[in-house]
Subunit: 217 residues, 2 copies
Amino acid sequence: MAIDSKREHQEIAQNEKRTMKEHIHPVFDRMISRPEREQRLNQRSKVLWFTGLSGSGKSTIAIGLEKKLFESGYFCQILDGDNIRSGINNNLGFTHEDRIENIRRIAEVSKLYIHSGIIAICSFISPTIAIRKMAKEIIGEEDFLEVFVNTPLALCEKRDVKGLYKKARAGEIKNFTGIDAPYEPPIDPQIEIHTENKTIQACVDQAYDAIIENIQI
Amino acid sequence: MAIDSKREHQEIAQNEKRTMKEHIHPVFDRMISRPEREQRLNQRSKVLWFTGLSGSGKSTIAIGLEKKLFESGYFCQILDGDNIRSGINNNLGFTHEDRIENIRRIAEVSKLYIHSGIIAICSFISPTIAIRKMAKEIIGEEDFLEVFVNTPLALCEKRDVKGLYKKARAGEIKNFTGIDAPYEPPIDPQIEIHTENKTIQACVDQAYDAIIENIQI
């Protein structure tokens, strides 16, 4: 295949800097920028990173939030296990290294999205402080909003909509977060949503109210 | 880390099917769909896959096309070496396997974009029929438009804006497409742009005119 090597790209970058000055038609020299895209979509793009236990309600709230934002004129994309594990990360397993690579790629895709001007809503258990720190560093601190969906383990386990806690308790699933693998809550999340005794709509509204000023132009 | 395993996702999928019927508030059951997004952006999303030799003009035409589409009200995103190799694919080298994985991930990211309703403009040498076939299969035949930027090798080498052909001829770069690695032209591309003796604008206009009916709603 082709020589699209790092060396080439460094040279491209250098060349583009030269071209920017020397080119007669600078119109062709650069892609549409993030601010131009944000202006077009009338929003500021951010990554909303939902973390919480399995069954805590992350994806349910994310889906409700996306809907509310979309109806309010914002343009978002949810990234979750369904569209990531079946696509770009379909060659990753569940070793420690693969789990890190899973989150790394998700963070990189989110970064592409925000540079496209689009709000990315990521919904992943992402159980450790270290792994969320990695995501935050890739995305950039100013663009990373951590949303902690705080539901007591006992309630997640009681809901057990997927039947996974039962299997984890029976030893049929190993390294299950909250059972035999740790969940480290965020220390200082942008938003913390306690879902117990709340309707889905109330949780969605809380998230919306908390993030809206971050995405308004 | 968490148990977001394939098994879990199969169960999620099954569960969602159940929930769609049983849920009292189906409003929370699904993400915003591709058609809803396309409607919002007033376009149909496609992947425009630019292929051609190094120095053929792929990225120059892609950037001009993005600009023209953006000014005409369309919303696109260019994916090229600059934003892919430095981000999601920054852990890939240039072995045969890594080059395939490079294109696979690009195709998967493009697929995410078109499901977001956005037109993806991919600019990669992607020199073999097999590797473009893989991209097309991932993206889906109906969403994959192949754009062959056809510039004679002699002209690419004469331009040699990056100085890479000179290095390849000197043996300083190995496996350089067109020199000591093959380039297999598309057999039946959606668009073929002959850049020789044409202005950049004429090439951009040709691409625009050829794809516009594919993206109009």
